[in-house]
């Protein structure tokens, strides 16, 4: 059993370099489609008139004067040696800057993740158990709302209510638990809505399975049936969703970080796109791709451990 999981992992890890290669080529090409080149943007943002000489001097310094293919090969050569280049703007190593900002984003994403689990599981179960009751309707109303609201708008509404009107949380910055609540909640809410709906229908479906009736006839306690059998079965498909969520939370933090002035990766990415800071954008995309692939792998492994059917299937194959 373990052997096959190991092989499964190795196989997947083996594909990682190919995924990254594809992602990096796409990023490399797409970012160059953005009009106006870095040299000119950097000069203009510095309020320096971009004279032809100044642009050419800067292009040479940035290396953007070289042919596209050569630029890519040089970049790949660096990446293989774990050198992700230096930022066009700050002149500091990109990896160093991104790693410095990663903890803040991870802090936000993990808090949001915990909130998602802590809120969506009980709400989903309540909603399923009290199907069609008033409490179910209220919960479903809020879940539909939370899924449909745009993040930036939700962020501002929460700021308006909880900072300005009730004065509970600060509007911006990082440092204390109070600073973390609103951004994490804003980031989590759309996913909570999604999860509650998902859990609700999964549980309702499981409750209709014959084994539930059978267990009740056997005289098992309802709470035991719910926790040991119904929830366990309903939770299996949820694990797949969870893996995707972690990646989404890291990527989705971009807007939340902007609204709440959270000093993480997302904000840095926006700034870098505006500044046409190619090395930063390339390294960021590579990093997020890695996290996605690994998170998915983790989910699949978890999925296999929770659902023995999958493992059996592999063995038969």
């Amino acid at each position: 059993m373990y052997e096959s999981t190991w092989i499964f992992c190795l196989k997947r890890i083996f594909t990682l370099p190919f995924v990254l290669l594809g992602v990096s080529i796409l990023t490399f090409v797409f970012i160059r489609f953005v009009p106006v080149e870095p040299a000119e943007v950097i000069l203009r943002l510095a309020r320096v008139a971009p004279t032809t000489e100044a642009i050419e001097a800067l292009r040479e310094e940035l290396g953007t004067d070289k042919p596209f293919i050569l630029q890519y090969l040089l970049w790949v050569k660096g990446v293989v040696k774990l050198d992700f280049g230096t930022s066009f703007v700050s002149k500091l190593p990109v990896a160093q800057e991104l790693l410095a900002k990663l903890p803040a984003t991870i802090e936000l994403a993990i808090t949001a993740f915990v909130l998602i689990l802590a809120l969506s599981i009980p709400l989903g179960i309540i909603s399923a158990l009290y199907k069609h009751s008033i409490i179910d309707k209220i919960i479903r109303f809020f879940t539909v709302m939370s899924v449909s609201l745009p993040t930036f708008w939700l962020g501002f509404i929460l700021l308006y209510l909880f900072s300005l009107k009730f004065g509970i949380f600060p509007t911006n910055g990082k440092g204390t638990l109070a600073h973390l609540v609103l951004p994490a909640f804003t980031l989590a809410l759309p996913t909570i809505g999604l999860f509650v709906q998902f859990i609700r229908s999964a549980i309702i479906e499981e409750l209709q399975q014959p084994y539930v009736k059978y267990a009740q006839l056997r005289g098992l306690k309802n709470s035991d049936i719910l926790i040991r059998h119904v929830w366990r079965n309903a939770a299996i498909p949820l694990t797949t969703l969870l893996g995707m969520t972690l990646g989404n939370l890291l990527g989705g933090a971009v807007i939340v970080e902007q609204v709440f002035s959270w000093p993480g990766l997302g904000r840095y990415l926006i700034e870098s796109i505006i500044n046409r800071d190619y090395p930063v954008v390339q390294c960021y995309v590579l990093m997020i791709a890695c996290i996605y692939v690994l998170a998915n792998l983790g989910t699949d492994v978890l999925h296999r451990l929770l659902d023995p059917h999958l493992m059996m299937k592999d063995r038969r194959d």
């Binding site: 950097i42 309020r47 204390t176 002035s261």
Partner: protein, 539 residues
Amino acid sequence: MRLTKYLLPFLLVLTFSILAGCTSSEQEKGKIASKAKTEEKMITVGWPLDVGPLNPHTYLPNQMTAQAMVYESLVEYNDDGTITPKLAESWDISEDKTAYTFHLRTDVKYSDGTAFNADNVIRNFDAVLANRDMHSWMGMVNHIVEVVKVDDSTIRLQLDEPYYPVLNELAFVRPFRFLGNNGFPEGDLTQDSIKAAIGTGPWVLTDYKKDEYALFSRNENYWGEKPLVDKIKVKIIPDSDSISLAFENEELDLIYGRGIISLDNYTYLKDSGKYQTATSEPLSTKALLFNTRSGPLAELNVRQAIQYAINKEQMVDSITHGTEKVANTLFWDAIPYTNIDLAPILYNPEKAQKLLDEAGWTLQKGEKIRSKNGQTLTLDLIYIATDAIQKPMAELMQGELAKIGVQLNIEGADVMVGLQKLMDDQVDINFWRTNGPPTDPHSFANESATPNASGVYEAKLGLPNAKEIDTKIHQLLVGTDEEERVQLYTDILSMFHDQALFYPISYETNNVIYQPYMKDFAPRASEYDIPYAQMNKEN
């Protein structure tokens, strides 16, 4: 089911415990912190970008407003266009106007206590000039031959030929500002990095968390008038709506600058009546730049007709809520050499129609758009998609021009895309703005005569007198006679005005809004000089 009995209470307890955990940190909140009656006075301000490495000799990502707090220039440019002493207490200019001798103040110390003197000034000049390419946009850099020490408190700047705006350029926030000896890196390569931000200015950076905040404390060694408060905290808040929310929540004492928050938010805060507001004298001009190389705008009549067709007064008032003044000429009066008598083009749609008729752009029966020789009068305008003012202005102008039979296609794009397209002759009209003091109007002149700089050179290629304008601009920059210079500026600006190359819209200002407990101060008409030293708040 029995289990559900426990679930609801569990959920409630969980929710309340999270809330309780947060409210306990209420003391951390700015609201309370900023109101606390401590002996130390601190002013907190919001800014969208990190202050950067505070290197006086480089550009992005250094924020000009922060560089200006720490570093000073030899001379100072004032809002009325005059230049007064700063680190140099006086200066002499040689008769041939190629040598500038500066007499430095002798009572100036850097924030680390080291002396400011001729050797240090020259070290700074050398570090900047080691990288001439990077600073070549500044005309003076191309003319400096050498900077030499005369004595401990005197230096001489030698040019290859006269270049009149030397003092204006020295007043600019970068790169000619001075770093203390202990701030220099190895080999004096300040273009790469500096060791420490040591300046002569009124503020010293004492605490800094990248992308979160920068804390400046009063420089106890400051030679000039000491700032009234002890500390300035610059909080980094990238989103403009978040800045206004933070201000409303009393986490910020003031919002200062042009475009830091949207004018809608500014008006909302102002109209609430709870705060004090101030507006600086104009600093730059918002205008449209017409591409005269091809299409209908190659004709003077069309360019003029557009200007007559738009009710500018109403547009500026309704969109900027009165925070910007209507502009009828390209430069505000206080900009040197630009206060000249030019007949403004005022709103007159009948005249606009007449001009178009005269030029042969006529309305055919049943048509809504004018045409000439089978070509319709259609123009493209690009605005910056994220600009809260350009977009409504573009829409309003589209409506006004439709009334006289001109179709204006508008398109929102990323910063600089429009300018690039205009330079490539792919678009007819683009929003444009002047640089503002202290480098106007000479930087404007310089850019207008140089290809690939601000788009003006390319846009004006269709003018019949484009060559003549270029020649006059060159004479102007190297000329030594003041009267002749005045005349040349008058000629050049009149030609631009008569040719209707620009459509001046409004004069942009710094808008300030501050909490009621702050004492009054006068905002400056500068892109980078924020008068923190004059700010104070009640205890």
